[in-house]
Structures are given as C-alpha cells and as structure tokens.
C-alpha cells in the first residue's frame, strides 16, 4: 500500500526539443521528492478524446522536490493532445508510480543505455547516481536514435560529465549504427571491472541488451512499456508474461525488471 498522490498540477515550463519531442515541467507536485529513477507518472489529458491516462517516465525532479519533468515524443492521440497544451495549463497526474532501478555499488561501472524516447529515465538515473557520489567516469551513457534529431538534450547530458556515447543509425550524429555496438565495445574493453547495465528503449534494443548481459555475464535491468489503463495495479490490463510463468503487472511490479525476467 504505497501512497499515491492523485493531484492537479500546472505546466510551468514547456520546451520543444526537436521535431516531435517535448519537455514539460509540472509544479507544484506533491511527492515529487519521493520519485526515484525508474518511476513514472500517469497523466490525465483534459479531454475525453482519450479514455486512459498516459504514462511518462520521470526525467528529472527539481532540488526542492517541487517540480517534475517529463520528456515525450508525439506518437498518437494522447501525446498529440499533450503537445498542444501550454504553460499554465492544468493536468492531473498520479505520482509516484512503479518500482525503481537498483542502485549500483560505487565501484561498479554503470552502463546506461537509452534508445529513442527511452533516454529520460536513464538521464534521471545518471544524475541521481552522480548526486549519490557515483564517480562520473564510471557512468557510461549510451544513447541511440535514428538520426541527429532523435538525440536530445545533448548539452545537458554532456554537462553531467558522464561518458557520453551517442549513436545514430544514419551516422548524422555520434557513432553510426545501433546503440548495442559501443555497449559491446565498452564491455569487451573493460578489464576485470564489475559492471551493471540499465536499459530503456524499444523492445528489439532491450532484447539485444539482455543478450549482451547473458553473453558477458553482466547483471542489469530493463524498463519496459505496456498500455496502462490504471497505472496503479487495480485493472490487470498492463500485464506481460513472466519467463517463470504467469503474468506481471508492469505498472506496480515494474516497469523495471532484472534481465531475463519478462518475456519480451
């Protein structure tokens, strides 16, 4: 019985990041200070054009714990409506929802792997790890996208001081190819160091990352998606099959799972 705040909040900042990508900051948000990387909010659009809320990973939380940021991509009706909202508009959010990424030990090399719109929780995790004193040079930030326009918040990520590995399929920014390439290179170059992987992104990427984890015996976690009618565990609509049998509710048992737990 974890406490969830169902609250009205205001859009206090809206940034158009590139093409279909936006950042929204909400304030005031009670319980924002409780949000940890991996968790998400469930947002109610002020229109009956969509029935369900929409889930978005927490991308950042302000130091005073009053502001919460999400970064999203316009893909359908809900996100189109969301992109149409403006500073000052009111939305209702449920927060905080979901489980969290395991915090690695300080001596572990951390491989954060974000694919496309999967990067916001990775960014949140990076900054939290830094705040907790994880050495910046032990944090590798892999970020894959189709082309330059899909690699967002580049300055912000660079500013963190982590080791940034941008990758684009068309080579228009960073390394050309798939994000798993540099991941595998960093893994094979590492010598005897303990490592841990975290990934969020499209399913094929998550599968590839899990495969790397198995191949090199590196533990890790993935953050997965599912359509979420309720977001807080009561509807049983967001389930994914578990390898061990049965189903898991992504909204409460997830969205973060250790490698190999869910059937993707």
């Amino acid at each position: 019985m974890s406490k969830i705040a169902c609250q009205d909040t205001l859009i206090t900042k809206k940034r158009h990041l590139s093409q279909d990508y936006f950042s929204l900051t909400f304030s005031p948000v009670s319980r924002a200070n409780r949000c940890v990387p991996g968790q998400f909010i469930h947002l109610l659009l002020p229109s009956t054009d969509v029935t369900f809320r929409r889930a978005f990973s927490v991308a950042s939380v302000s130091e005073d714990g009053n502001e919460l940021e999400i970064i999203f991509r316009v893909v359908g009706r809900g996100t189109t409506l969301l992109a149409g909202l403006a500073k000052g508009d009111r939305v209702n959010i449920l927060v905080p929802l979901g489980n969290r990424f395991t915090i690695p030990r300080k001596n572990e090399r951390v491989l954060l792997i974000g694919g496309g719109i999967g990067f916001p929780p990775m960014m949140f995790l990076a900054s939290r790890l830094l705040a907790k004193g994880h050495p910046a040079d032990k944090i590798e930030f892999f970020y894959g996208g189709r082309s330059k326009d899909d690699i967002l918040e580049r300055t912000r990520i660079k500013k963190l001081g982590v080791r940034f590995h941008p990758v684009t399929e068309d080579g228009s920014f960073g390394e050309k190819g798939l994000v798993t390439q540099p991941v595998e290179r960093v893994i094979s170059e590492a010598t005897g160091e303990k490592m841990r992987m975290y990934a969020c992104g499209p399913e094929p990427m998550l599968k590839a990352v899990e495969a790397l984890g198995v191949k090199y015996g590196i533990p890790g976690e993935i953050s997965v998606e599912a359509p979420m009618p309720c977001g807080f565990g009561v509807c049983l609509g967001c389930v994914l099959p578990l390898k061990a049998g049965g189903y898991t509710r992504v909204c409460t048992d997830g969205p973060v799972y250790p490698f190999g737990e869910v059937v993707l």
């Binding site: 019985m1 109610l44 029935t51 807080f232 565990g233 009561v234 509807c235 189903y247 409460t252």
Partner: protein, 306 residues
Amino acid sequence: MTPDLKVQLAGIEFANPIMTASGCCGYGEELAGVFPLSKLGALVTKSITLKPRLGHPPPRTAETASGMLNAIGLANVGIDQFVAEKVPFLATQKTRIIVNVAGSKLQEYIEVATRLDDCEVVDMIELNISCPNVDEGGMEFGADPKMTEKSVAAVKKVFSRPVIAKLSPNVTSIVQIAQAAEQGGADAFSIINSLVGTSIDIETRRPRLTNNRGGLTGPAIKPVALAMVDAVYRSGCRPPIIGIGGIADYRDVVEFMLCGASAVQIGTALFIAPDTPVKIARDLKAYLKRTKLQSVTELIGKVKRY
C-alpha cells in the same frame, strides 16, 4: 444540517451509496494508497473463482470512444489465497466488503460462497453471472432466467448474509432476468456488467484483445445502464438496485438514483481518476444541500417520467 449520505441495502447500512466496482479496485490494497477506504460505502473485490486464474494473454484492454474494452479473463488469486492473503487486509478496513464471485460451473459458485460464509468481514456476496456457463454449453448463466434463478438460490443456501445478483446487459429483457434472480432469493441487484464489444487494429488486422472480444465499460455505456436500472425499478422488483455503468461524477450518481438505484458502483472512472469516489461523496453532499434534501435516499426513484 449536513445532508445524510447513509443508505440501507438488504438490511445492511452503508456510510454512503458509493462503492467501487468489481475488477476495478483489485482487492483494495492499491486503492488504499490513494484514499482511506473508509470513504467508500463498500469495496467490491475482483471476481474470485475457486481456482486461481492467470487470465488472458495481453493485450487485455483497448481504448474506445468514451470507454474501454477489457478481456482480463477473470485473473484472480483464487479463493484459498484470497482468504489467506487478501481477507486479513480487508478486515482492517473500515468499509463494507462485498466479494464478487464467479465460476463456470454452478458447483464452483457454491464452493466459493461456502468458503466466504466463514469470513465474517465479508458483508455480502455479489454473483457475477455473466460468465460463460460450461455446464450449459457456454451460454452465460445471466442470459438464461432459469440458470439465474438456480444459481442465486444455490448460493443463498450456503451463504448466510445477503447475496447480490450482478446482471448482464447482453440480454433481450433484463427485467425477466431480474425477476428470475428475485425468485431465486436475490437480496439486491447490481446493474449492469459490461456490454460485449470489440475493436480491430486496421494496420495489423488483429483484434485489439487476444480474447477477440471483451466488455465495453465507461461513460459510453451510461445511457444503456441507466435505462436498464430504470426498467428493473419500474418493473416493481423488490430487491434494491446498485447502479453501475459509466459513472464518473456526482451527476451520474444522481441520475442513477433518480432512476431507482439505492447505491452505485464506480468502475472505469477509477482508472481515469482513482479519487473519483471521494469527489463524488463531496459533490453529492453539496447537491443535496443545494436542492434542500436531508438524505440521499430521497433521490431514489424520484425521476419525473413523462
């Protein structure tokens, strides 16, 4: 004087007429993280079956215009685990507890109800007779007056407290089914369960639910639910009615009560806004005050039909 929200159903008093609908509030634990369950008239659990059920493979839900489809497949922990793990939590909650019971054979209903009779915390049973009846070749219990009567009567025999019959809207005459349920001894009716519907993804050409079809719920179905409550109430059935279907705000509750509901259940709206029951209770009080009524019961059946 602040208006009174208390209602009575089948001899049991409820703090207010607002209940959460089966399948939309789990076993209460998660919802208690949003607001204290004491704010509810009653909590109605997910359908409990004899054996645990995993439910259907995903996708299990789809959005529709002002509504949703679901084919969860009665996923639930089964009566054993329910009694062992869920009842202790429910026992600590200061609200009425109604356990929804489902099965595909009459014997299953009977066994689950027998077990629940021993759980004192369970104030009432709600019979979900909208499940396909394996014994009778798959037709829903609730689509057949005889099976409806038989199943209510059988459960009444083993459960000593009041039994609610939850009626399916997918019938030619819900009044006929209600009369059969009354004949079987039903102490109250829940009206309605979900309408059968489907939705297709035109890109993949696949149904949006692995079950191919599911139950339509939410604001879209409110007019249908309201007409069915109205029809059963007008038919002069004795058992009180719990109105269900698309309720999202206090206005909807007033509509249902004017049409004859003594209480209501909130389903899909909990997904849209989990604090809906709390807001409704507050707004309902304000409405009663504004319209100068002392008790919410003064609304029941008071629609001025043409």
